[in-house]
Symmetry: none
Subunit: 545 residues, 2 copies
């Protein structure tokens, strides 16, 4: 390890943390992560993910490329109004100015200013071949573009970071030019130069040697940005930090183009739990599993069960060989205590978490199950059976609370009874397509038949159910269905598969999520919708009428 | 790197390969890989996978634990009769004898002999705490078990390898004892001692240092067996090889308990393509992608698109930034030529893409748009408009080809005309829920009305449409809807949002994906379904009837 590496001085076990250079954790889920095949984030998704990242305690959130991608321009505009970040600083990603112009007159550079992000991360070419073959300009002009753009943006009061694109390939081909780009950026005022393994082809010893050589040759504060094309993104990032980099980039769930970016949560867990280097605020790592899974729900990309630390299988044990010994001493078979990352040990056959975490969760929701070991066992068994059938309570707190109350109070909270429903959808030869739903329910002492129309079956059901219930429960007028997510489970069976729906309902002040599972979208939606309205009435303190 | 490492002497570019120690590639997909959550292999599956592994050219195939797992006993019995391996040698995994007995009288050891596998890989404890706490015997008896079992099996003509379980944790806690286990095994006749990071908690520098220290302290030929709990299984394996190990264990697709075993194909590709170390027979690596995907089909575990080298996304490019430069020189944006691992570069069509990537994509699909700049502009504008409306063509090649043909040929390929459709879904107070669809179409010169039932609306529509079209197009009988994905876009609007459906259709030999977008799931599904059948008829070379 070189001098001044953030990995040099692990904190003493007792006593004050020795002084050391800071380690910056920089998340690029919303920009580079969004390049992943099949991942398409709405502005609403991005705002929700940014909130999760802030809860995780990363230092920087790269929100996108304003000016180049209209959705990203909108993200920064809405972020300025809607996001209240506790800790993280927003960064806008963009390019150095075009060859031959000025930074001040470059519309893309102006868009970076207009984003009002306090940090601008500029990507610049540092591989001489890319400058001439891809950018089609001269090596000198590329340096002028760096100087000009960094100077202009720092002059406008922005903190500027520089992503040195294709740095490692460039350094191997022409180290002199790659180093000139680094020096030029720092001399112009960039606060860190991030060495990017853009094509992802490096291995850890190479990365360590090159970072050390750059530290030797320049005074630049260095960062590292890796991709997983050799299966070494995490190890490459750690090798760079060991060699003196003080800023690490990555994404949640390792999202990213091709094989993905370096998995930020794994890097952070390795740093904190294996090397004793604090990277997040104290205790934040315990949120890692929850946040990784929540973000999977937002992106609707199925979570990687095998992900290190936060994966659903990361502490799951199947081997009969181990089972009895694990009971004696779990530490013999676990590399860390899973609670340090908010995960749980699981013995397979049994799904999901055990009694302890269900009791904890109940306490968190204000439903006391304590003391009654038998009740806890029955709830745990029910949760396991439900999750085996496709339910997920992790992302559906409101459904989980209804389930707990069902066991704690002896009956599931209910404000109405459903007799039947029917949907008719027509796509006629002439005229407009229409979906129509009819529901028959019992509420307020009456049997009510109501019909609703919508642009789809779920919409129509929602309209019909509200129509039926409003006379008895005017409180429902304030409830709104604000989010709706569908996942097909066991997709190998095509349309025969089981469908899981997550519905988010809001009363204007807070929102909650409910889950429904069924052989088709409409039945699953109906279940989640009924739970969503029931939970809203419960929280409004309404009595059954 | 230490002396005699297989990584010391990369072959000269010209002239004969210099003499060097061999590198053994040892696959444990069928044993340790089978511990993965959700993976359940039949004997037939195992035989098929073994055949694939032999084609890949690994040196050893660990087939299972005969005597402990009945299915594995059967595997070895059938393998002896049914498998004709060209290159690989079968290994049976098992444990050293029980404490206090003799190897010759231990039924589990006898089962290893009975398996008739030429190689036996014995697992032995090398962590002193595991000996006393889990195995509940003395440190000396554990050594006697190693000596006795290795001596007995070599005396019976078997090649014996020893997996030193929990070696790294054991070495850190008590290096003296861990080393005694290694020496004991080699002195008794084991041909290699495999150092196992059983709990997976190591990082590359530690692994490298410990392997080097063991090489320093003993003359044992060493192997490495890693798990991915720190996200470093590949890097840890490479670090061990660099430090002098000459045998590497891993699994296909990185299958395995918890976070999985080291991904063997990635290790082998890193060795051959990054370090110039031959690990498989010449040319075998070109089969890597095919074999990884075939094994995914056999295990029925969805393939990891983001896997290094062989993943479907590993050489997929989305960023519009790169597309024009990729045309100039693909090597600027790829860390290797994808054909070296049997994979392909793909351009993803997305709203970040421009004309250049659409032209490239057209060429890939065999639709030539070249030369006509005006046509390309119109296609690009259409794609951008569609994607802004919720379509995604990057995951829906078949819909994109239909769109390209619409522009190149002047009209979208069509085999039938739709007049109308209608769906009725009922969730009655009594009796079963049912979905029923009626479609009216024109095909084969007739107007056809057909009705289908299903467990959901999409299912029912699919049944009705096939019923209507089969008389005119019997080719449709071979087409099957195999996957179905739903995404609600712009979710902040709740059920008012736009729905995107991706449908994968297969003709039994290949499959293709189509996309539909609409205000509700059923309309979006209908569009994707019609495209899916149309594309199938197009590829079957059918003329409109």
């Amino acid at each position: 390890m070189s001098e001044n590496s953030p990995l040099d001085n692990p904190p003493a076990e007792n006593g004050p943390t020795p002084s050391r250079r800071r380690l910056d954790v920089y998340d690029t889920t919303l920009r580079d992560g969004a390049q992943q095949e099949g991942l398409a984030l709405s502005v609403h998704d991005k705002l929700q993910i940014a909130q999760q990242l802030d809860e995780l305690g990363v230092g920087f959130i790269e929100g996108g490329w304003p000016g180049a991608i209209p959705r990203d321009t909108e993200f920064f505009a809405r972020a300025a109004k809607e996001l209240t970040l506790q800790r993280a600083v927003l960064a806008a990603f963009g390019s150095t100015r075009k060859p031959g112009g000025t930074a001040a007159s470059d519309p893309q550079v102006r868009a970076l200013l207009d984003s009002e992000a306090p940090v601008v991360t500029l990507v610049a070419k540092s591989d001489a071949r890319h400058v001439t073959a891809a950018l089609r300009t001269t090596l000198e002009e590329n340096l002028a573009m760096v100087t000009d753009t960094v100077t202009f943006l720092t002059g406008e009061g922005r903190r500027v970071m520089l992503d040195a694109e294709h740095f490692f390939d460039g350094y191997l081909a022409d180290p002199g030019y790659a180093l000139r780009v680094v020096r030029t950026a720092v001399e112009a005022g960039a606060e860190v130069v991030v060495l990017c393994d853009t094509n992802g082809g490096m291995l850890p010893p190479q990365v360590g040697e090159i970072v050390a050589a750059v530290r030797e040759a320049t005074a630049a504060p260095l960062g590292i940005h890796c991709h997983n094309d050799t299966g070494c993104a995490v190890a490459n990032s750690l090798a760079a930090l060991a060699a003196g980099a003080m800023h690490v980039q990555g994404t949640l769930n390792g999202y990213g183009e091709r094989t993905g970016n370096a998995d930020l949560l794994t890097i952070v867990a390795d740093l904190e739990l294996k090397l004793g280097i604090p990277a997040l605020p104290p205790g934040a790592l315990r949120e890692a599993t929850r946040i990784a899974h929540t973000v999977s729900e937002i992106t609707n990309v199925p979570p990687m069960n095998r992900a290190p630390y936060y994966g659903a299988s990361a502490f799951a044990h199947k081997a009969g060989l181990h089972a009895s010994a694990i009971r004696v001493d779990p530490d013999l078979y676990q590399h860390i205590d899973p609670q340090l990352v908010g995960n749980d040990m699981r013995m397979l056959v049994s799904d999901m978490a055990g009694r302890a975490s269900i009791e904890l969760k109940g306490r968190e929701l204000g439903v006391d199950l304590g003391g009654d070991r038998d009740l806890l066992t029955r709830v745990t068994d029910r949760v396991k059976a439900d999750e085996a059938g496709g339910y997920t309570y992790e992302a559906a707190d409101a459904s989980f609370e209804l389930l707990l109350r069902e066991y704690a109070d002896g009956a599931r909270p209910a404000f109405f009874d459903v007799e039947s429903w029917r949907i008719i959808m027509e796509s006629p030869a002439q005229g407009v397509r229409v979906s129509e739903a009819t529901v028959k329910v019992h509420a307020g002492g009456r049997r009510i038949i109501a019909t609703g129309e919508g642009n789809g079956p779920v919409n129509a059901l929602d309209a019909a159910l509200r129509e039926a219930l409003l006379p008895a429960y005017p409180e429902l007028a304030t409830l709104e269905l604000v989010d709706f997510k569908v996942r097909i489970l066991d997709a190998a069976h095509g349309t025969d598969a089981v469908t899981r729906v997550l519905i988010e309902t809001s009363d204007g002040r807070r929102s909650w999520t409910t889950v429904g599972v069924g052989p088709n979208l409409v039945e699953a939606s109906w279940e989640a919708m009924v739970d969503g309205l029931t939970y809203g009435l419960l929280k409004a303190g309404v009595a059954r009428r």
